[in-house]
Symmetry: C2
Subunit: 313 residues, 2 copies
Amino acid sequence: MHEEASRVFGFTRGGYTRGFTLDGLDVTLHVDGVGTKTLVLERLGRLRVAGWDCVVMNTNDVACDNYRPVALVDYVALPSSDERLFREVVEGVAEAAKRLGVVVLGGETAILPGLARGVDVVCTVLGVRERRVENLAHPGDVLYGLPSNGLHANGYSLVRKVVEERLGGDYRAVVKGVDLAEELSKPVADYTGFLLDAWREELIKAAAHITGGAYTKLLRILPPGARAVLEMPRAPRIFEFLLEEGVPVDEAYRVFNMGFGLVVAAPGSNEDALRRLAEKHGYRLVRLGVVERGERGVEIHTPYSDKPIVYTG
Amino acid sequence: MHEEASRVFGFTRGGYTRGFTLDGLDVTLHVDGVGTKTLVLERLGRLRVAGWDCVVMNTNDVACDNYRPVALVDYVALPSSDERLFREVVEGVAEAAKRLGVVVLGGETAILPGLARGVDVVCTVLGVRERRVENLAHPGDVLYGLPSNGLHANGYSLVRKVVEERLGGDYRAVVKGVDLAEELSKPVADYTGFLLDAWREELIKAAAHITGGAYTKLLRILPPGARAVLEMPRAPRIFEFLLEEGVPVDEAYRVFNMGFGLVVAAPGSNEDALRRLAEKHGYRLVRLGVVERGERGVEIHTPYSDKPIVYTG
């Protein structure tokens, strides 16, 4: 199609967003939804988390490219009119927007009988930036992770399959010490403030939000001739539980964040300053690996398999 | 909820949008989706129309408040990965965006097994304007309609009910001279260029895009102390057909556009210039009524009932 070139299909080298200049302002629009996590949250009576997640997923993404989120609109689709469910979602949106200083400019509620079986929650964020960044790691950079808050909002189709097929569909069960209701309703961690500070202080070269596609997202921040090599620590209990329940290791690192919701690339000389900044924002900074010269790709050593997982492309 | 005040729930006096100033630029974000029309379009193999509609519904809305649409992102949800359906939709988005001169900044494709039963298509548009307009009609203004292109993208839940319950669910039937497949897959008319020209030339005082809620939308452009009185002509065949198939008259004017997708308010002295402008954009201009002093409300005289339909609120 003639206009295909103007679209962004998933991967964009150097970042998460496509921006343009509007009367001298460097702006972006970014859209993302919570996906099938809402099906689990609705069951657990915690749809407020869907509203929160929807905002934070987007603001984390745009902040990876140094855009400050300034405004948003939300879209909530429901199979039938349900004021209570709707309220839960928009309260979560409002809470996140307030925390992040983002104006909620409006929203659309769509009642979609025959089309929606559950609640779909989508946000679009407008971001602006004062300084363009390439968002590319370079050989010699160190890769650091910031801990996630559980599963975040990705991998829920796979998680639901595990719960339905292996655990009898009980989302409130406590299995092998894992409280499913608690684990499956944790909100997405907010890295936005950390990222904007890190860019402003010029402490990082690149940032990858570990969402859909998980560690394949690192490909986005690698230029040709650079490869990422990670030595991952043991993952938090929920991820080891999912491995125990039959999720293959290579699939796990392609679907789940495995303990880190954000990976940044920075010169090792910035480590102390970066650690202090992360701690100021409530996060530990964990050294995960390095960027080396070589064929563009990601190599992940995990405690769960002898051979490394490799992504190229 | 503490943040409720920052949300726009449907009606905003004076317009369709909520805007804000960003470094001196008057901008808005606006989100809208195609709704259950996609279920019919998918059946008819015409999902490309959903992509078109999604863009034009949004650009018509923002242009009612004199915002020029400049960029958009789309969101397409599917029950399972289907490259063909997805392509159809985004080709329609690209076609409309090109026609309107709007940059497609990106998009999100969500695969939602268990949540989506059909294709959901949503767009968010970024608009900017050089001149603020109140978008309010005043007593003495004349109300003019611009013809719609069939049903546009509203009322499909009701249309589907009629087809399923009264016509055996055959969306390709020709009934009483009505070719359902053709009628139900017509794209939304593009009023964006006309509206921006009409605002620039200061020919109109207010504009109402007749979408969800149909003629109740006129309440949006009426200040306190002003009432709209419309003398509607006979509606195009598809609407009379729906009346014949049992849709009550008052419901029809609250759900369907009944032949006019846009209503503008203007001083009668602008009529000739406004007519020329409409014709330049390919539309007839039809005088539908007047704005009078009185209790705020809408009074619609139709060829299909003795008593007028009245909306207040």
